[in-house]
């Protein structure tokens, strides 16, 4: 490759099979993750009579439809939901795809399982029929979500036709204040660039703040790239990445590890490489964030107020803000820290990893929830690790429900729903109208902010609780 190149350029270039004069590029796909929403894709393939090109590159786990109050198929009360998990089991068995099923400790949310198993590695192109696939970009991979037709295409050909997106670098520098976490960083980014700010771009997150994040923190940041409009978000691999990967079940071993490591070290963006767009944030200015509206871009520091639509730039924006405030039942000018909450959800592919649970448990320790609150670990292995550390006991003593792994109340497809009109402080990624249930009102927050809401019954600046320690 001539001249300095970006991490994204290097990965893209290494996967080009065909580049047409019009720019359409056939890309090799290293890793394909499937879940229990993939039955239409498998069915289409079967109908066409086409075999999987490379079953060894595909891994499956059920997450969207699984019950969290119990394990096993029988815990899924609804026959339609149960059939989605059954159909994944049947399809993977028929096609020879490795599946981490219910009853296997490795089962979990697909975006937690990939990195945890060492399936998601630097330099790879990883796809999944889910918009939060950008999560895996935290491992130094190019990872993006696809629809059902593209899932079929990857199963059949182990390739995808794509047009190269533009590149954007978001640099975050400075030290995060106590009580401020990766979730606050990504919410601050989305508030700054908007829910469409990254559309058509692959984002690289860079800067000292991102470097100092653990893999769990980087996964949280990359996870919400799609909420800024970007299909892909990535972080250059470094010693933190390699340390995390080493020894994981599907990570390279022995001589392969040494070869892989040498290759991975060549991946970070070269000095002088250029991006189509650059954005900078000062981490020292980021406070714990909450959302007040029905798009993730409607995020503000907890110290702020519900904004006034009268101050919106144009009529369309004003109209949409008014609609959002009506749906959320909020009044302009109200302090965000006075918003009463009915329920708390800690979980989802954004914030259900061991580090999320550790920081949340630290705040929950010795306190009591005053509203229904639940913790849903991201995988069976996260759950086991948390239990080994006694975190489950801390949460349960504080009044949290301790559940089994799955997507759960982030999207409610398994029946874990927020009731109509109820207000939920949630560590998930979307506050869309009806996302957590018809008429449900969602406030997106970090895990520690979720605990702060659970023990006080309102959106609360977690730093006021930390001062007491």
């Amino acid at each position: 490759m001539a001249g300095p190149a970006t991490l994204f350029d290097k990965i893209w270039g290494a996967h080009e099979i065909v580049v047409r004069p019009d720019g359409a590029t056939l890309l090799h796909i290293d890793r394909h993750l499937v879940h229990d929403g993939s039955s239409n894709a498998f069915r289409t393939l079967k109908d066409k009579g086409i075999k999987l090109r490379d079953a060894g590159r595909t891994f499956a786990t059920p997450d969207h439809y699984v019950a969290t109050h119990g394990r096993g198929l029988s815990a899924i009360n609804d026959p339609d939901r149960r059939s989605m998990v059954e159909s994944l089991t049947t399809h993977t068995r028929e096609t020879g795809v490795t599946m981490f099923g219910l009853g296997d400790a490795r089962q979990g949310i697909v975006h937690v399982v990939g990195p945890e198993q060492g399936l998601s590695q630097p330099g790879m192109i990883i796809v999944c029929g889910d918009s939060h696939t950008a999560t895996h970009g935290a491992m130094g991979a190019l990872a993006f979500g696809v629809g059902s037709s593209e899932v079929t295409h990857v199963l059949a050909t182990q390739t995808l036709w794509q047009k190269k997106p533009r590149s954007m670098r978001i640099t975050v520098d400075g030290e995060l204040a106590p009580g401020v976490h990766a979730k606050d960083v990504i919410l601050a980014i989305i508030a700054k660039i908007s829910a469409a700010g990254g559309t058509g771009h692959a984002i690289e997150y860079a800067g000292s703040t991102i470097r100092s994040l653990s893999i769990e923190g980087r996964l949280t940041v990359c996870n919400m790239s799609i909420e800024a409009g970007a299909r892909a978000g990535m972080v250059a691999p470094d010693d933190v990445t390699f340390e995390y990967l080493k020894g994981r079940p599907y990570a390279p071993k022995g001589a392969d590890w040494d070869k892989a490591l040498a290759f991975w070290r060549t991946l970070p963006t070269d000095d002088g490489a250029s991006f189509d767009r650059e954005v900078h944030l000062d981490a020292t200015e980021i406070a714990p964030m909450v959302t007040w509206g029905t798009s993730p871009e409607a995020a503000a520091p907890i110290t702020g107020h519900v904004p006034d639509p009268a101050g919106a730039g144009d009529a369309v924006r004003r109209d949409s803000m008014e609609r959002a405030l009506a749906y959320m039942d909020l009044k302009p000018g109200m302090p965000l820290s006075e918003i009463k909450v009915d329920r708390v959800f800690i979980g989802s592919c954004t914030n259900s990893r061991i580090e999320d649970l550790r920081v949340a448990a630290k705040i929950a320790d010795g306190r009591k929830t005053v509203i229904p609150s639940m913790v849903v670990p991201g995988s069976g292995l996260v759950k086991a690790q948390a239990e080994a550390e006694g975190l489950d006991k801390i949460f349960q003593r504080a009044g949290f429900e301790w559940r089994e792994a799955g997507c759960s109340m982030c999207v409610g497809m398994n029946g874990d729903l927020v009731a109509p009109g109820e207000r939920c402080a949630s560590t998930s990624n979307r506050n869309f109208v009806g996302r957590q249930g018809k008429g449900a009102r969602t406030h997106l927050v970090s895990p520690v902010m979720a605990v702060a809401a659970a023990v006080s019954g309102k959106l609360t600046d977690v730093r006021t609780l930390m001062a007491r320690h």
Binding site: S39, G147, H153, A196, T199
Partner: protein
């Protein structure tokens, strides 16, 4: 996939930014199969009350817009979840083109896979088209893919750009999987050298 060439049809103006795919098709319906039909579920919670009766104020419940096959939307249309069911719902309802200032990237890709044409136009053009459609409910817009041209009800014409590969596939109604499998030799050759160089991948 059915080939797409041109369409002259009623257009409906949906002037809300960030219409996410959860709005287009709520998650609780997603266990259904592609062939089950999705048009009756399009915009379900915006379109229907809990008892199944229509919300009269919703765009597609107004008699003039009911037969719409073209949607003129606002920025970031189809953002959020990757669910292709959002495209199936629009398509099965009868929509064949969506005109907007910007689209969610995954929705945009999914549209082409199903014969739904997403057309990007400047925000001012979308605003002008929506204003005209609101003034003249039931008015037609014409979309010509081959000429890459939109004709507004008042006769104004707007050019649009489209990725040549996507255009070719839409015009021909290409089955992309078969198209790619025709190049399997190139894929196999790539895989061989790739796996030799990086056996751990």
């Amino acid at each position: 996939m059915e080939p797409f060439r041109q369409i002259d049809a009623v257009a409906a103006p949906l002037g809300t930014p960030n219409v996410d795919t959860d709005q287009i098709i709520p998650a609780r319906f997603l266990w259904r199969l592609r062939d089950d039909g999705w048009g009756h579920l399009l915009f379900n919670d915006l379109r229907f009350n809990d008892d199944g009766s229509e919300k009269p104020q919703f765009l597609l419940n107004r008699p003039e817009y009911r037969p719409a096959r073209i949607l003129v939307a606002d920025r970031n249309f189809g953002c959020g979840s990757s669910r292709e069911h959002a495209v199936w719902s629009l398509y099965d309802y009868g929509f064949r083109a969506v005109i907007a200032p910007s689209f969610g990237d995954i929705f945009f890709n999914n549209s082409f896979q199903n014969g739904l044409l997403p057309i990007v136009q400047p925000i001012e053009v979308c605003e002008a088209l929506r204003a005209e459609l609101e003034q003249k409910p039931g008015a037609h817009i014409r979309v010509d893919l081959e000429a890459q041209k939109i004709t507004a009800p008042d006769g104004s014409e707007y050019d649009f750009t489209i990725d040549p590969f996507r255009k070719e596939c839409l015009l021909a109604g290409t089955d992309e999987v078969r198209f790619t499998l025709n190049q399997v030799d190139k894929i196999a050759a790539f895989e061989k050298s790739y796996e030799n160089g990086m056996p751990w991948m």
